[in-house]
Point group: C2
Chain length 216, copies 2
């Protein structure tokens, strides 16, 4: 706990970040990246400002306090996640079943290549203080995510669409947290196969032997 983290962060900071963008934008971008790497409580505002090629005063002119910056970061992260639903619709228009498979595939690929977990879930772990403003942002984003997936399962003609959506959320969230705590060899390696088997089971067009084959 006595390590000088500021130095390490500064070393890996991107001072040469596109100066054409406005400081506010650069600060948020740097903050998101640093929060991902070191955790929210593991990064100071000085390090964020420096990584953004700016300074603390400018940071505080745009964000009243660190918590406000954290909320803005989480909002942008959740907005980014929201875009996947439009992307799915654009990729496979009018084919919700295919969109559901694509959602699983994308989630799995992301988890296989990045062990740092979900920014929103991680923030919820760190920010436990009662009434912390970020908690509402996190909760709203997660609820919206579940809602979207439920709707997709419903559109795909799944009878028990709500149960399937909830199960898929649990699997994906579990995979992300396992990646962080267990590492590459964790059970999240089987996420894609497990989700697909789950979808098959709920779609009602798989026999026992089919499921055994899928789970193999």
């Amino acid at each position: 706990m006595s390590t000088t983290l500021s130095q390490k962060i500064s070393d890996s900071s991107d001072i040469s970040m596109n100066v054409l963008t406005r400081p506010r934008e650069r600060i948020v971008k740097s903050a998101i990246e640093l929060f991902r790497q070191h955790g929210i409580k593991g990064v100071g505002v000085d390090a964020i400002a420096e990584a953004a090629g700016s300074n603390k005063m400018t940071l505080y002119r745009h964000f009243g306090c660190k918590d406000d910056l954290v909320c803005e970061c989480l909002k942008q992260v959740s907005d980014e996640k929201e875009r996947i639903w439009d992307n799915l619709e654009n990729s496979y228009p009018g084919d919700p079943a295919r969109q559901l498979r694509a959602w699983v595939d994308e989630a799995a690929q992301h988890i296989y290549s990045d062990l740092r977990g979900c920014d929103l879930a991680n923030a919820a772990v760190e920010l436990k203080e009662a009434g912390h403003p970020a908690q509402k942002v996190i909760m709203d984003a997660k609820k919206a995510h579940v809602r979207h997936l439920v709707e997709l399962c419903r559109s795909a003609g799944i009878e028990h669409y709500e149960q399937l959506a909830q199960a898929l959320v649990l699997l994906v969230e579990g995979a992300r947290v396992c990646g962080q705590s267990i590492g590459v060899e964790g059970p999240q390696q089987q996420l894609k196969q497990t989700c697909e088997a789950m979808i098959d089971a709920f779609s009602g067009h798989g026999s026992n032997s089919d499921r055994a084959a899928v789970s193999n």
Copy 2:
């Protein structure tokens, strides 16, 4: 971020903790509880010592640094979790299938009544510094947990026991993290039904209609 957390922690600390136990034991116990409530980085060693009815000097005589104390806490938490396997064997001796159902039931009950997530997984989120000693403790405990569940599924006669065990781990871990980020209304409410449906599917003694009934 300018809140005076120490005061709040002190207010809720248990100064009257059993003085018959040794300071070291009380310190670890208080630390585990405070870490659970406020996160590891959200609690200072002073608050821990005070909550244990001891002081910082005694704390540092038993633990070289805060990280050592954190490791000891996580070890005790993982030892505690290890005991469930013996408990299951004692509760339903020679009946691994029943033990597996009981494991699901216990995990679900725990998750329904406590939204604070898994101490080990939460610690992994907070302690991202490369080579942090707690990471090995967390990883070893989580791997052992998966190993035990795989073995239980194998004993229960599940054909694809490894896939089932991994899927169950993902569901349970996902449920714990959802409780933290979404709150009581999250998809973890359906954990038990989902796990049981998953076991049924892998057990190969459930028809499509059975599965539909279970998932309802």
